[in-house]
Symmetry: C2
Subunit: 333 residues, 2 copies
């Protein structure tokens, strides 16, 4: 006689530090697939994702956001609780810190707590890659990265995963040290010599794919001017519209975002003073209810602001990989 | 020369399991004081507490709620992520499970993750005790507990902490085993012989303080009828209006809640079909901007639905007590 499994032993969670999360070794391709499935579910109305509320302790632009999501199609439910404190870097602390809790969708019981910084970085680039599948020309070869921090680096990996023809990489960053470190990293991971652009214009002109990933500003510095973006190019604006002049935005044929109500929310807060009409959200592009690029000369843009579904789609991959490798710390609930 | 402290060593968090949280040994009096201070801050407009969004995986009444709050006056910021799955008890699992994350308000960095079930239980009773300070007669002597689960037990401790004259305790529960266990617990903690009431009416008639803490129902069972609640009595309805007949509610002179927008939100969801006008919220009572009981014969009620501020006010006490005792597990972020 086969003994029946215990209904409930002592409840435990698996804690994954940032080092554990990175050691789990989830690949960028796996992350892109998970984010894409998350947007397919959203496009089909099967994601529950309430508005992300925040608190704002202390001075200035400090925030801590709660980002809950339930994605039944991925058997995933949880929350990311993520802070951004602009003053942290001067204290020798990270700007972004946070944790993510995953629950068992069948019982609601927490099953894992993990550091959320790696997921936050990689899923943002993965969303750009999913957008690129629908908005970039498949033969795109020249990639321009403007601002070469963590997001610039993740975007090279994510965009080359979906557009392997991206073999020319241009980088611009006002900080020479940062652009040099970026170039060294790209060379070691992709075997590509990065072209360091002397200014934003040199990076953007003639590029097929443009990523702007600098600081998010309520009042854009608007460095990219009209006439620079080539016909047929695709841009992913990771830093809202901070890099884009109004006249340059008016040249776009297709402007998209990851979630329209969220973009409208930020408009009410004073961001995005002047953007083109929204052609589609990313869920609609993935689900096929709205078309992506339809001609080779359209100028297209994804302005994805980041959603809880990105994180909650990716976290189960990390947990499963960590379980398989025995990573993390098992703790009693 | 005194060496300056390191700005930032490796970041760590303290994880506290449910057993650690309970072993920290925070007293009910300390919890009541913290919750009272939280409501004082709220009453003075110094709490940031966005609406609690939720997700609802699976069937029926399953929920997981995100409850963030920032209480600068208590140097406290964090979030509780708490699930309720009605089907869990049949699986041998708790109905309520959840975790609470505390952050450093100065940097946003997570400093602790703790099991939230003990805090959820005790802070609910503490909020009733804070209400009782403003709404019960100070000489109240007869306490009636209707439904003798976890909340019934915590309420005896919390209400006796603020009303030590409560020396007669009556208990009613449809489950004889539960009421017997409750009575044994009260006897061992308070040295009081509990009177077991044969029905709700026997419990309520002549009581000075009435606690209803059964299951929350969209359609009240309305067991408590008009004419039973004595003049001058105070009731804390922990289970919304589930126990109260409409005509009995109409006898109330002062009806209060912990947060008016939250009560209105639940009304929109179909709860609280018929309640009296709201006299005050608990922050107003504590801050003194609205009066509590003004005469000895008013019938008063607190219908506190539970707020993130309750949890985030209490969690730092638990963390500090656990630190002092060396409890929990230190983990790298």
């Amino acid at each position: 006689m086969i003994p029946s499994p215990a209904v409930s032993g002592p409840l435990t969670i698996r804690y994954l530090s940032r080092a554990d999360v990175e050691a789990a070794g989830v690949t960028i391709g796996e992350v892109i697939d998970a984010v894409q499935t998350g947007f397919l579910e959203k496009g089909n109305g099967r994601v529950e994702m309430p508005p992300k509320p925040g608190v704002h302790p202390g001075e200035g632009d400090n925030f801590i956001h709660a980002m809950p999501a339930s994605i039944p199609g991925l058997d995933a439910v949880g929350i990311k609780w993520i802070s951004g404190y602009p003053g942290n870097q001067a204290r020798g602390l990270p700007y972004i810190t946070g944790l993510l809790i995953l629950n068992d969708p069948a019982t609601g019981v927490p099953i894992s707590v993990m550091d959320a910084t790696w997921i936050t970085g990689v899923r943002t680039a993965a969303a750009s890659a999913v957008s690129a599948r629908h908005l970039a020309r498949p033969e795109s070869s020249v990639l321009a990265i403007l601002a070469c921090g963590v997001q610039g680096t993740f975007h090279v990996d994510a965009l080359r995963a979906v557009l392997p023809t991206l073999t020319t990489i241009r980088a611009y960053d006002p900080d020479p040290g940062r652009v040099a470190a970026f170039a060294a990293g790209v060379h070691s991971r992709h075997g590509i010599d990065v072209t360091i652009a002397r200014d934003a214009e040199a990076a953007v002109r003639g590029a097929d794919v443009i990523v702007t990933s600098g600081p998010i500003l309520r009042t854009p510095h608007a460095s990219i001017k009209a006439g620079w973006m080539a016909p047929g190019a695709f841009a992913s604006a990771v830093d809202f519209d901070s890099y884009w002049d109004r006249a340059a935005l008016r040249e776009l044929d297709l402007f998209t975002t990851d979630d329209v109500p969220q973009l409208e929310h930020f408009r009410e807060m004073g961001y995005f003073a002047s953007i083109p009409p929204i052609h589609a959200d990313l869920g609609q592009l993935v689900a096929g209810s709205r078309p992506g690029r339809t001609t080779a000369d359209q100028r297209t843009m994804a302005c994805n602001l980041g959603l809880a579904l990105d994180d909650i789609a990716v976290a189960p991959l990390v947990l499963r990989a960590a379980e398989a490798k025995g990573l993390g710390t098992i703790l009693p609930l």
